[in-house]
Amino acid sequence: MSAESGSKKPRVGVYVCHCGTNISHTVDVEQVREWAEKTLGAEGVVIARDYKFMCSSLGQELIEKDIKELGLERVVVAACSPHLHELTFRGASKRAGLNPYLTELASIREQVSWVHTDKAVATEKAKAVVAGAVERVIKNEPLEEIRVPIHPDTLVVGGGIAGIQAALEIANAGFKVYLVEREPSIGGHMAQFDKTFPTLDCAACILTPRMFEAGTHPNIELLTWSEVTHVAGYVGNFTVTVKKKPRYVNTDLCTGCGICVEKCPKKVVDDVYEAGLGYRKVVYTPFAQAVPKYPVIDAPNCTYFQKGTCKACEKFCPTNAIDFTQKEEYVTIQVGNIILATGYDLFDARRVSNYGYGRLANVFTSIEFERMSNAAGPTGGNIVLRDGKTQPKTVGIIHCVGSRDKNYNNYCSSICCMQSLKFAHLVKERTGATVYEFYIDMRTPMKAYDEFYQRVLEEGTLFVRGKVAQVTNAARNEREEGKLIIQVEDTLAGKQRRIPVDMVILSIGMEPRHDAKETSHLFGVGCSSDGWFIEKHPKLDPVSTMTEGVMIAGCATGPKDIPASVAQGAAAAARVLNKIMQKEVVLEPIKASIDQEKCSGCRICNGLCPFNAILFHEDRMVSEINPALCQGCGTCVAACPAGAISGTGFSNEQILAQIDGLLMDVNLAV
């Protein structure tokens, strides 16, 4: 490589971090420093230092001092991943009067010292990584961060307990919230439950006040029976389209008296709220405490919509609130932040055909059991077999149905152990039946959970450690005749057992919403291959997403129990409030722009932008990028045949220079 010595290269400082021994254990830091000073001197490096912890205040001061005293124009810190400390070192530069974007981090910890073992080889690679960063930083341009005002309103998607909590937190802080829910009422899965573990509080008793508060809060606008159909814009300035499905009930007139429901002559199986275990009318409110109180007409099942006659509801409505002419309605709202609390679906137990759900009458799912044990449910809280009257004498509860199984879902659904223990307690309490629990591992890690396990043990529930092989009605002898037989290896006894029972409860796991992929595209959040939304950081940023301004809470990111969902709802709200209070948001100035002189008007870039940030000016026959919409991916930069598009932060010059730097040793060897 021909180094043009004497040319006016910017003055670069290189700082190599030991990171305690995290780096120096595998990389000869001293050697890297020496080499940087000597070999990269020709490239413009005027100073190279190493230090135990560059990120410490002393380390940062070192850099600040050099910038001021040596007149550094570029800084390279060879340390950890930029995702950890890029902001730290940019801050140091800024304090010393250097544009923060003239500082680069070279990752020699995550990409070198932690993943390699041979010290000599690792040291060589560290040098290459540093050289790449030096060559790149020379081509960096000073940039100004972008500031965008934040719209103070917030959209919360999903009216389960996580969404309700988030909405209340923000509303109570004095800001407006739109709470969108696709079912007729808010409340989510929690509204279906009877008791909650481990305290056995009645779910309705603790949820209803929250629902009521959300429904009547002056700062919360409920959009139930509604779905988000389109999202445009970016943090601080989202434009969201919401489809309001027709209720066929004029909510301005309806008083929620319930006469229409009473008079409606048609009953259908309620697959949503009653989980298929009970019936509802065709005009209905899902449950007594529903918020809002207005009913909905289920048009596909309504006799009037299907046959043109009936109208019983209309006839009897005292306020003339029934309106068969209602149509879908689209409303557009402006918000600054969005919280996704879209929740989960339940695993379809029929997929585990060896457990017989759907084939064997007295095999129930956990959600069916919740409804059955609920005093407001289809059996009035009586625990009975499918015939609706017989109390079971023996009940088997099977854990991990559809979870921890490569044939279905790999993950642990986290709530099933506790839920099953709760069922065992309820069955005992209400029927006195013999209860078996079949588990692989008992997982009771949260507050007061293991104590609940102890309590259920004490109550005499029989625990069998083994994944149930099958539930069958094929008896082998008299004793099994007419029963459901649970066949399992009792792994602690080392023997196969066949246990005849009257009722089986399958503790079914949680799954991502069936439409999670579409939702993730709609809001531009990441979705893992199994369908759960991806957090910005699983530990340190669990309620943010990679998309600024879009938060997530509750089971949308994975299975959670009620306390965790509530905590996440509140945490997401805190994140949003933090943004709102800042009044404006700082964006990375990574944007593409088109040189109008070079643009040939070929329009190749136009179709490449998924954010519709590229406009084509018909009159001048050139394209232009709207910096407010550009997200900085750089696809158009790479595609422009005229080389007219450049991208700040990741320009061609920067990347080509980095390649040169990374391969410097190879070329020196030629």
Binding site: R359, R476, R479, P500
Partner: protein, 337 residues
């Protein structure tokens, strides 16, 4: 007519001759053209793999290599025997899943001038062909004598729906394919809970007491559901339940009489073929009474299969020759009481 490469398997020439004969009869009207793999050899059943892995898979793969040479237009190999079907399919699957196995097997094959690349062929079972290629509509259209009033227990056995690495079946434990075919020919199909449980396999030879228990579970269950006859797709299942039924009865002191035939035999009846052309009459447990219900007369069997010592009402006499004799149904829950 659809062309298929055909791997009959050893039992089709002997113990499951009825399967072979009936399949040959119904193939033509259903439009199935079976081209037998030239000079095929035994698949090794469940025995060879338990002795020596590479020779066992080489033995299977010789058939695949021979079939691949003939494939000409069709890449589908049809096997009617469950064990053959599974062995051929597993060899193809494992040779790909474990390249080291594929490599070694091909080294062996090359000693015989052969070679097989996994994935070259589709290995399918005859039931899969009938339901998915020919289709229920075609089958229904060909039925001239629906088996109305015949209560059948659909018995698929183990090795067709499991392990099903290629996901060809509706369910590994409660698949619907055989049920659908039997319904299509007009039979009354019972909801047989043991449709895919084990018949004992080779245990009839090496551990008969184990096998008898498994056979007992099957026939008692079929009888409980008032089946007239069991219907299978597997020569081993047919053999165990048919030929070992009297021994099972003797062992437990029971009097079950549950005939079992191949599904192709019943399809043949429904398509109007005379029973003697379909191999009826070769079973040990007579089908006479069962088929009389639908007005089919079976040629007089040489040997009556039902237990002859009918007097045994009291305690059963266990056969003295067997080890660990237990004269009553097993109850694994005994210890629990």
């Amino acid at each position: 007519m659809s062309d298929y490469l055909f791997y009959p398997g050893c039992s089709m020439e002997s113990s499951a001759k009825a399967y072979y004969d009936s399949l040959m009869e119904i193939a033509e009207p259903l439009g199935i053209n079976l081209k037998e793999i030239e000079d095929w050899n035994c698949c090794g059943a469940t025995e060879y793999v338990g002795i020596n892995l590479i020779p066992a898979y080489s033995l299977i793969a010789r058939n695949l290599a021979l079939a691949a040479k003939m494939k000409n237009g069709t890449k589908t190999v049809v096997a009617p025997c469950s064990a053959c079907y599974l062995n051929l399919a597993k060899a193809d699957y494992y040779m790909a899943e474990r390249p080291a196995l594929g490599e070694k097997v091909n080294q062996a094959l090359e000693a015989g001038g052969l070679h097989y690349d996994p994935g070259t062929l589709d290995i399918r079972h005859i039931l899969d062909i009938i339901i998915n290629d020919i289709g229920l509509d075609v089958l229904k259209a060909k039925v001239v004598k629906p088996l109305k009033g015949l209560r059948v227990a659909p018995y698929l056995g183990c090795m067709v729906p499991r392990p099903d690495y290629y996901h060809r079946w509706s369910d590994p434990e409660h698949p619907i394919e055989l049920v659908e075919v039997l319904k299509a020919i007009g039979a009354e199909v019972i909801d047989f809970p043991r449709a895919t449980t084990c018949c004992g396999g080779h245990m009839t030879q090496i551990g008969p007491e184990t096998a008898y228990e498994l056979i007992r579970r099957l026939i008692s269950s079929a009888e409980k559901y008032k089946a007239d006859i069991m219907v299978t797709v597997c020569p081993m299942c047919q053999m165990n339940i048919d030929a070992y039924q009297s021994e099972t009865n003797r062992y437990f002191g029971t009097h079950y009489h549950m005939p079992i035939v191949f599904f192709t035999q019943l399809i043949g009846l429904a398509l109007g073929f005379p029973p003697e052309k379909l191999g009826f009459g070769t079973e040990i447990t007579s089908t006479k009474a069962a088929l009389a219900r639908i007005g089919v007369e079976i040629p007089e069997p040489v040997e009556e299969g039902a237990p002859r010592r009918k007097k045994e009402e009291g305690l059963p006499m266990p056969p003295r020759l067997l080890k660990n004799v237990k004269g009553k149904p097993r109850n694994t829950e005994e210890a629990e009481q």
